[in-house]
């Protein structure tokens, strides 16, 4: 697309085959604090590059056409980043706010340590999805791998498919919703009743993620038994 055409559609197009990643990220960073500049961006030829559109701090929309490597949209603030492809490890790690959406699947640690915002994976997420999450909401259309929501502190993880082994190991106050089978629960993670308020928040999260073909009533809720919150010798086997 030529520069003139980009202007006509009000979308700034950056081709990572010809533009250094540094230049793309710097231009996106320069929009922080309400600075003048394009609000809609399209990134082509990402070819698995790492750290694409990380550290954004502006209300912009970034569409990435293709697969990305590690840490896409890391530490995102306010921006909406959509990956039309698959994402490598650490998608949207430590996200603070905004939205990160992946059309395909995501590798390990998707949404790790996120403190706010929404992460949507329309395919599957791998192991340790939502590890150490601290307030982010994560919706996975497919399944998640083992050790997902390990030491998860706050926020909600919604899995429309299955969960691998040791779901929610050493969980704190995050709430987990899984529609399919859970291979096993980790230490201190237990199933809890899905009450009306949970169905309501689940319906809201599914709607935000654009998931329309599943119902909240099909999910089971998991949370912390809070038995490991203080060190006790009788729990020694769990340490």
């Amino acid at each position: 697309m030529t520069a003139g055409a980009a202007e006509a559609t009000a979308v700034e197009v950056v081709d990572l085959a010809t533009t250094p990643l540094r230049e793309l990220n710097q231009r996106l960073h320069d929009l922080a604090g309400g600075a003048e500049g394009p609000r809609r961006w399209r990134v082509v030829n990402p070819n698995g590059a790492h750290a694409v559109a990380c550290g954004l701090d502006a209300e912009v929309e970034v569409e990435i056409e293709g697969h990305v490597g590690y840490y896409c949209a890391g530490m995102n603030q306010h921006a909406t980043v959509r990956v039309h492809g698959n994402a490598g490890p650490g998608l949207a790690e430590n996200i603070m706010s905004g939205r990160v959406i992946v059309d395909g699947s995501a590798s390990q640690y998707a949404g790790a340590t996120g403190r706010g915002g929404l992460v949507v994976v329309n395919g599957d997420a791998s192991s340790r999805c939502g590890i150490s999450m601290k307030g982010v909401d994560i919706v996975v259309r497919g399944s998640v791998g083992h050790m997902s929501a390990f030491m998860a502190q706050r926020g909600r993880l919604v899995v429309c498919g299955d969960a691998g082994d040791a779901l929610g190991d050493s969980l704190y106050e995050a709430r987990l919703y899984v529609r399919g089978a859970v291979a096993s629960l980790g230490a201190d993670c237990v199933e809890k009743p899905l009450r009306d308020e949970h169905a309501a928040e689940l319906a809201d999260l599914l709607a935000q993620a654009g998931v329309e073909d599943v119902r909240p009533g099909e999910f089971r809720r998991y949370g912390s038994a809070r038995r490991l919150y203080t060190f006790k010798v009788d729990n020694a086997a769990a340490y």
Binding site: H50, P89, N94, Y109, F150, T230, F231, K232
Partner: protein
């Protein structure tokens, strides 16, 4: 016949089962939990005390004390960062968390460091506004727990330190016991108040050196390649860890020996995991030298630095700077005899107090109790830190001048000899009065 304590001479204490061992076995049997404490390793290990500097004489001439210049400035992060850290002295304040320490104590560290032109460091718990405000140069730690991690703070920092481990507990995570989790600490860490809080031992989003390289790349991108990126490791397989950290792109390597302090760790971990600072410096310098990266990637050494002699010897072995943690707390009044009565009330004594995990610190440093914290004056604490840092610097200069050096970084291994065979082997400097370095072939 009786000894000074009134015990008859025929009583013989076991070397293996001495009184502290007996007390610990009985405590473990009573409480059913391992001993968690603060401070660093208390056992005797080879250290800088086992080295001596060779002052100038006929074959070398000294610089005139107080008259001839002996510079102390050091620049950290010259490899990739657009804005390296310019320090006036080669002594920095190590990472200690708000949570482990009170907010006024963190403020005092910032005040003191700023007064003498050096940096201080956040810790496992995020950056507090007080700390940022009072620290002209602040290193922001990225830890496995990521408590309080925030890109705004990342951008506010003067450098970023990726913490892989610390000397007190290489391979171990952190721990903050419930009585130190105040409302503010809980909110900063996104955790419920009052729980015993675990910190992970491994980073949540990378594993191994290849991932670390990509992680560092992300941090550089987020901060537009402005900030130096440090990698901190606890001293264990130091030679390999340093080489891998350099390969991963670190601007600065921080190596923390086993004497390095902690706010709360199992005693068994503190005393039995990791290697002393002395061999760690040598291994780190060897690793950098082999890669032709010595002085290009700067080396910061910590773990048991107390005096200008420790500083001078660490620099002579090849470090670019040192960090202090325990000594900084002591400088601010920790373990002061002034509080002898208060220590006695909590079953301890000045000079022995290591229950930094308990939050009952009479001096008001390692606590989140508002009343105790109010005893500590951050301005006075800052002044003491500044005084202490100045003394360390003057002592280091004194020793460097005696060795004929116009910059403290000009100290070199050739200025050192060892007092013990162990120290000679570990630091790889000759045993005093010989040309013998155990474990190496003699180049002479």
């Amino acid at each position: 016949m009786a000894d000074g304590n009134g015990r008859p001479w025929n009583l013989r204490e076991s070397y293996l089962f001495d009184r502290p061992v007996i007390a610990e076995i009985q405590r473990a049997a009573r409480e059913g939990i391992y001993d968690i404490r603060g401070f660093g390793a208390k056992r005797k290990v080879p250290h800088f005390d086992d080295l001596l500097l060779l002052g100038a004489s006929v074959s070398r001439y000294p610089l005139e004390g107080y008259r001839e210049r002996c510079d102390t400035d050091v620049v950290l992060g010259t490899r990739h960062a657009k804005k390296p850290l310019h320090l006036k002295i080669p002594i920095t304040i190590a990472g200690m968390s708000f949570g482990a320490l009170s907010a006024p104590a963190k403020e005092a560290l910032g005040r003191g460091a700023t007064e003498v032109g050096t940096s201080t460091t956040t810790g496992d718990g995020g950056m507090t506004p007080e700390e940022r405000e009072h620290s002209a140069l602040l290193v922001y730690q990225l830890l496995p727990s990521r408590y309080g991690m925030n890109p705004d703070d990342l951008r506010k920092a003067d450098a970023i330190e990726v913490v892989v481990g610390q000397g007190a507990k290489p391979g171990g995570g952190g721990m903050l016991l419930g009585h130190k989790i105040s409302d503010r600490v809980a909110a900063m860490r996104d955790l419920p108040k009052g729980i015993d809080q675990r910190s992970a031992s491994r980073h949540p989003d990378w594993t191994g050196p290849d991932d670390l390289e990509i992680k560092i790349g992300e941090l550089r991108e987020i901060t537009d390649w402005q900030k130096p990126i440090f990698v901190k490791v606890g001293a264990t397989r130091t030679y390999y860890d340093v080489q891998l950290a350099v390969k991963a792109g670190a601007d600065v390597i921080v190596v923390d020996g086993m004497q390095g302090g902690t706010a709360a760790t199992q005693d068994v971990f503190i005393e039995h995991v990791g290697i002393p600072t002395l061999p760690a410096v040598r291994l780190a310098v060897d690793a950098l030298t082999e890669l032709d990266m010595h002085r290009k990637v700067q080396l910061v050494v910590s773990g048991g630095i107390r005096t200008g002699a420790d500083v001078a010897k660490a620099l002579a072995l090849g470090a670019d700077a040192v960090s202090i943690g325990t000594a900084a707390l002591v400088a601010m009044g920790d373990n002061s005899p002034e509080y002898e009565r208060e220590y006695a009330k909590i079953g301890s004594a000045a000079g022995y107090y290591d229950d930094w995990q308990a939050g009952r610190d009479p001096v008001g440093i390692s606590t989140q109790d508002d009343e105790l914290a109010a005893r500590f004056d951050p301005k006075l604490g800052g002044r003491r830190i500044a005084n202490y840092l100045r003394v360390l610097t003057l002592e280091t200069q004194t020793l460097a001048r005696a060795c004929g050096k116009s910059h403290v970084l000009n100290l070199e291994p050739e200025d050192l000899v060892a007092l013990t065979i162990e120290a000679a082997a570990m630091a790889r400097v000759p045993l005093a009065g010989t040309d013998w370095i155990p474990g190496t072939t003699n180049p002479l």
